[in-house]
Symmetry: C2
Subunit: 195 residues, 2 copies
């Protein structure tokens, strides 16, 4: 046996990333073997190394891609407006965007410790970049006296932590719809930062 029927890098490549994303999210990077990933792809473990240099790079690639796409999507989503409006946009965007890709989100903050130092630094920088965008909104709101926030950095971290919480328990078809959850959270965020 060797090359199999219908084999194509444009099929196997994405399949590999999807399988890795799914398995890493469910069982964790360290607990998933290359052979498990290969089985999910429908291939032998050796074949995976046509697509990745090693397991670590696979993890990094998933996290890097996720963070890059997050920042691009955010920048494409935001419209100008008063700080209060921008904050509302942020909350809505964050909750929806993260709810739509729970696996990538889960990996991006659960597997940080499994990154090599250099890779970790890169992901960390992207994360800080995203956090800074929220802090800028808060700063603008404080400057215009729309918000009363004693420490914008802490507030940004606290708000993101709160919004991230949604991903730990939200399941499609549960008691509340995504829109209701969004409203409830926007309510708390708004009141929490208001002057």
């Amino acid at each position: 046996m060797a090359r199999t029927q219908g084999s194509h890098s444009e099929i196997t490549g994405p399949k590999l990333r999807e399988a890795a994303r799914s398995l890493f999210a469910r069982y964790g990077y360290a607990a998933v073997s290359m052979r498990q990933i290969a089985a999910e792809v429908g291939v032998q473990a050796g074949a995976l190394y046509n697509y990745i240099p090693d397991k670590q790079s696979l993890l990094f690639d998933l996290m890097k891609t996720h963070m890059d796409e997050l920042l691009i999507a955010y920048d494409g989503h935001m419209r100008d407006g008063a700080p209060i409006d921008q904050l509302k946009q942020f909350v809505g965007f964050h909750i929806r965007y993260h709810a739509e890709r729970p696996e990538a989100v889960f990996i991006a903050y659960m597997e940080l410790r499994n990154l090599d130092p250099g890779n970790f630094a890169q992901i960390e920088a992207l994360r800080r970049n995203y956090e800074a965008r929220l802090e800028e909104i808060l700063k603008a709101g404080v400057e215009s006296s729309a918000f009363q926030v004693p420490d914008t950095r802490i507030a940004a971290m606290a708000l993101i932590a709160m919004l991230n919480g949604v991903n730990t328990w939200f399941r499609e078809g549960g008691r509340l719809s995504m829109a209701e959850i969004e409203t409830l959270h926007w309510d708390m965020v708004r009141k929490g930062v208001l002057a």
Copy 2:
């Protein structure tokens, strides 16, 4: 070689749990081997099995102990009072208690997926128990019209997520003291739930 000088179960037992807690927190349950733990304890891997039936039980024991102690400490800490005062007590307790044992906290919510189903159910029940205590405070506040919280369950989850966030970035000797962080968070929580 066999039994070593000064060997005692009252020393090795706790040492084992401390080593496991430290290593699991840093590298993750799946990434840490029994031999690594044994090396940290200063013993061969086989000796660990005088103290635990298997690796899984070690993880479960750490998590169960943490959750039990959390609930006991909480019940011992709380004093009667108006909902607003109880909420303030909760916020202070939660932030401080968790900041004092970052490793156990980290494990307790990062390693949930590495628990066997039965073990998972137990830890999950304890966690829900803790969350319910906060929700009770919120409910009481809504009933007395002190709080304006449309959905107490979601609010409880959101607030805990926000408070848990502190543990991801707080380091002793940083820009802010624990007391300042407490104040800042209490400010946001208070405003977020106020009528």
